[in-house]
Subunit: 662 residues, 2 copies
């Protein structure tokens, strides 16, 4: 009970309230004490706050406000353990910056890590302390207008000129414009630019260069540099994502990042000795993304569940007054599976973070065995979690009717922010196909009888039962559930494998891969879902208090039943599940919804969101929704004057003329 | 071939280009000639255009621009056949107003029709010509902050005072504030207000009143009226949706709309003689919504398919250069089912519009037999179409990667606009449950052997085959498809019926309904999907040219296979479909994608979208996407100056201090 993994929440068990303990790791791993301290610091520091809600600001005002806040935020980094970004850092930043980026986001997440990872010793000395001291603002410019995923086709060139010992950076076409980097448009004065390296007439492929974009004193773009904002987007509108074009712009030779490859003064290219082992960082970045997506989904579920307990509409028992809309089965079915998902995703984020730390530890001993499997898993999780989180958030929004459509609810912002995760850091379909490459290799090994699979993929080599172990919704053990998900994942992996082999006999390897790609994506999704449900079950099984396990176990069951029901066909195939078992699964959904209903508000409260973090009028902890909506609306830009200029200019004359004709 | 139902498009059949004819009704029923005339008028009339793209405007600028344009648009109504709103009106308005509302939207759609339908003769004389001449701007204020769907719980009161022969309109609580009506916030000076009618101490339920909100000369709110904008929303941000509160505001007795009920000068209440038969108008409004949703989905598919033919990424044949991303099976699978859906939805919109006209004709003869069935169907279609259109639009957006996230693509706007349709004009789940009420009545009649069902529900009384008629993907007849969809719809309707009956034996009727509601919604969805596929097949079967039927038939198959595959479990149950049949369905998806690929661009072009209507840099007809993206970005608000004030204010001093420390 004293375990630092669990925090108290008030839960209704069989009609009586009691305090039980929910997984603390849900909210960051930091102690409750630290959360409270960070929140208190935020609340007592006026310069970290918005003067008016950001949704009422113009884009220029948002940009201005974000710049002001990020300087104040980073002036006060001593207030947190900045090394613990996964825990304290994410919390601190989300309180201050909300669901947006800011002028220093790429500086900290990409520019400084690239300097740390890609420079030689001299370069490290020159750039790192300058960047850490915020003496310059850097970003990372890789993606181009016409080139995203396929890096080897980037068009920006860096041609070495031995006469002056400079690189000439050039954008030969419009499609070669750097496009999308955060804070590139207006804020950054430096960037790591990825360009095709040419020396002595030979192209050596994409390499990173550190490039000054703007004058340190005037902040005007350097001659030969064309840079600007890429315009408004679905979300992230406080961020000046930018474009960048070079007109034969010269930089010193020493600005090529030379830890792995090098160009000598005479133009000799020295190839890298080691591969870059960049996988580890990507796994960490994805663990952060998954935690972030889980948090956004939980926030959406929190807002919708709280509002559904406030909102009353229609009667179930005639004459007994309008009911809380959370009493409707359809409303529960919209919301509670999203809450279950948020728990499952958050557990997975922690698990991946822990794996990353384990792998990093192993890497220091030169052991890279686990890396490909974990890298594949993290790519797949990024894809499945970002998509299911976005869909879940929209369900929460829609479940709040018209009020969910207002920016007062925060849902539109949460959705636009979260769904971006389907695209950045690797487009989801591309990610799933990466996972499939790994799975097909594993399937081949199994077929060849030489599989050496780690735990995550071990199920591929198992034979498994021919029938689901499901008997009734309340006697479906953790072991049964895992076995059943293993069965359908295994079936799909080998179905995709067989399709691939069949196509390979008819056509080229690449075209065969293309013709199998829908089946391959499906296999990756099922592999990831198996991992999610297994992790969820394992984490809940370690809850120290048996009473606590009741609502958490209901959430695991709801999660499993909902997934099975959505892919019913896969479970019915080959008679693996009978139709009466499938009926039982459906019945299980209804039972779980009923059982979870009384605890729904407690379960969302256990995530310990502060109103400042939710930033939603609908999701207020005090439930005082309606007066707050009116108060929020009165701040609308249009309400600053009683009569808009449109009356004098257009509508008034039109009406006057209309009346004069009668 | 000369049939006016079809318009020409260039289609690739077996490798050779030829012009075939696509259904003209896709684009309005108006002749091609009229479309061209309207477009030419729009293009040659500068005051109908935006000075800069709306996505670069602040909310105030958008509001101002919309007011200016709507006056100009309605000044020029002679250019179109305004009586043909379904055809010419929708096209004209979409060219000018884009995907948004405007200060007169509720005036035309709700205020004037309410005056036409609810006034007595004197009132009609007083108000109709004034409204039609645009002498006043009216809106329709029904929904309240705390009350949406359940009208009988509205809180606004209209209490008759016989002493002054006035009604006192009052908002007793904050939850009684009128909330959401379009153009209420700032534009309208009149509204039809729905309020609980009290006279002689008795409440007679909600009634409509015509209420002046603002002074005709100054446009200031009248004393006792508190009115304003409800703030920014996910979409529709050129519209001043509003709130409205009354503080014992007095209006003349004659402002109660008295066609059906009446209050005499002495306060005597006269009850309505006829029920209101308002169903007909709702059916018409929904046919418009369905057409609109189909158009938005088609626009999204058009943008994404065109861009996928421009964008190149990765190689399939090594060494032969990057391929169009439309060549990837996964990309085709994301996009082409959306295109098929758009066709299916558009055909359904026309069918419902035709049914509405038939029913209206019958109503004049006092025949209301068809009305309940068609009303139920249109509610269900509204729900299924709005949700699937929104989901499809997001798939199109995501398939365009990072560029899909930019407002330059138009996708975020299309999505926000379209997904609003899931909520307004009846929340989708509420709509599905309405359909279910009808279906349960029909099921009961079938079980009792006294069903008198019209064509749409006739399948409920059929026995049907025990097995799917599917043999192979290219020998699955229209008849087989309809029978198979009938089978699963019928099974689900009776599954829901049986669940309802079982629950009714255990609990109250209302609670039984609630406990069955997930199954009931599912039944409604399957009923609607059957209607959609049947209509789609029927319309394609009437294509006059056999060659034309090839790509259209492929679209119907893709649509059917995709739906079956998504609900595979339902088709496998009871051995209705065998597993090899299910495999054949999946194979059919792949074959249809391959076959449709060469015609994909022609098929989206056949919708005849002008660039002005798409308003998307990615979807340009000329394919000149990349330079246009750069040009668009350069218009960004942030690019008006090279250096933003943030540099002087925050970022410059921060960096200077950082550098000084080193």
């Amino acid at each position: 009970m004293g375990s630092n993994l669990y925090v108290g929440a008030s839960i209704n068990i069989d009609g009586s309230e009691r305090t039980v303990y929910l997984p603390r790791c849900l909210r960051g791993g930091q102690t409750i004490q630290r959360r409270a301290e960070i929140l208190a610091f935020f609340k007592s520091t006026p310069e970290l706050h918005d003067p008016i809600p950001v949704e009422f600001m113009t884009r220029e005002e948002r940009i201005d406000n974000a710049a002001r806040k990020i300087v104040a935020m980073t002036d006060n980094l001593d207030e947190i353990d900045a090394a613990d970004f996964f825990g304290e850092g994410m919390y601190y930043q989300s309180l201050i910056m909300g669901r947006d980026l800011h002028p220093l986001s790429l500086h900290f997440v990409m520019f400084i890590p690239t300097i740390q990872g890609q420079t030689n010793d001299e370069q490290l000395d020159e750039w790192l302390s300058l960047a850490v001291a915020r003496g310059i603002i850097g970003t990372y410019a890789q993606t181009e207008l016409g080139h995203g995923t396929n890096l080897k086709n980037l068009e920006t060139t860096a041609t070495y000129d031995p006469k002056t010992e400079e690189f000439i950076i050039n954008s030969p076409t419009i499609t070669s414009a750097k496009w999308w980097p955060g804070a590139l448009g207006k804020s950054s004065n430096y960037a790591v630019v990825v360009a095709q390296l040419y020396t002595r007439g030979v192209c050596y492929g994409p390499h990173p260069f550190i490039v000054q974009l703007r004058d340190l004193e005037t902040h005007k773009p350097m001659k030969g540099v064309r840079v600007g904002d890429i315009g408004p987007k679905f979300g992230f509108n406080s961020s000046d994502n930018g474009f960048l074009l070079f007109d034969n712009y010269r930089i010193p030779r020493q600005h090529m990042l030379m830890r792995y490859s090098k160009v000598e003064p005479d133009g000799t290219y020295i190839a890298p000795k080691h591969s870059k082992l960049g996988y580890g960082t990507m796994v960490f970045v994805r663990s952060i993304m998954i935690k972030d997506q889980a948090t956004q989904l939980a926030a959406a579920a929190c807002i919708a569940v709280r509002y559904s307990a406030i909102r009353r509409q229609g009667e179930i028992k005639p004459g007994s007054g309008e009911v809380q809309i959370l009493d409707y089965q359809t409303q529960q079915f919209r919301l509670l599976p999203q809450l279950a998902r948020a728990f499952a995703f958050m557990f997975a984020a922690y698990e991946i973070r822990d794996m990353y730390m384990k792998v990093t530890e192993q890497l220091t001993h030169g052991n890279v065995d686990l890396l490909p499997e974990i890298h594949a898993l993290s790519s797949g999780l990024k894809s499945v979690v970002s998509w299911e989180a976005a869909q879940g958030i929209e369900q929460c929004r829609l479940a709040c009717g018209g009020h969910g459509y207002s920016l007062a609810s925060a849902f539109p912002e949460i959705y636009a922010y979260s769904v971006g995760g389907c695209t950045y850091e690797g487009e989801n379909i591309v990610m799933l196909l990466q996972v499939a490459r790994f799975l097909m290799k594993a399937a081949e090994e199994v077929r060849n009888g030489n599989a050496r699979l780690a735990n995550i993929c071990g199920y591929l080599a198992k034979s498994g039962s021919a029938h689901s172990g499901f008997r009734s919704w309340d006697a479906y053990t953790d072991g049964d559930i895992v076995q059943d998900f293993e069965h359908v994942a295994r079936k799909q992996v080998f179905r995709a494998y067989d399709a691939l082999k069949r196509h390979q006999r008819e056509t080229t390897a690449e075209e065969a891969w293309n013709r199998s790609s829908i089946e391959l994506c499906k296999a990756s999704r099922m592999h990831v879902r198996l991992y999610l449900i297994r992790t969820f079950l394992e984490k809940v099984a370690t809850a120290p208090d048996a009473t606590l396990q009741i609502p958490l176990k209901d959430l695991t069951r709801l999660y499993a039943f909902d997934l099975i029901s959505a892919s019913q066909g896969e479970f019915l195939k080959g008679g693996f599940m009978s139709e009466s078992q499938a009926e039982g699964i459906r019945e299980g959904i209804y039972r779980c919804l009923e059982r979870l209903r009384p605890n729904a508000v407690s379960l969302v409260d256990s995530w310990d969101f502060d109103d400042a973090e939710l930033h939603s009028v609908l999701g207020r902890r005090d439930g005082n929704v309606y007066p707050a909506l009116l108060e929020w609306a009165e701040k609308s830009q249009l309400n600053r004057t009683e009569v808009l200029p449109t009356f004098e200019k257009y509508l008034g004359p039109m009406m006057k003329e209309g009346r004069s004709k009668l």
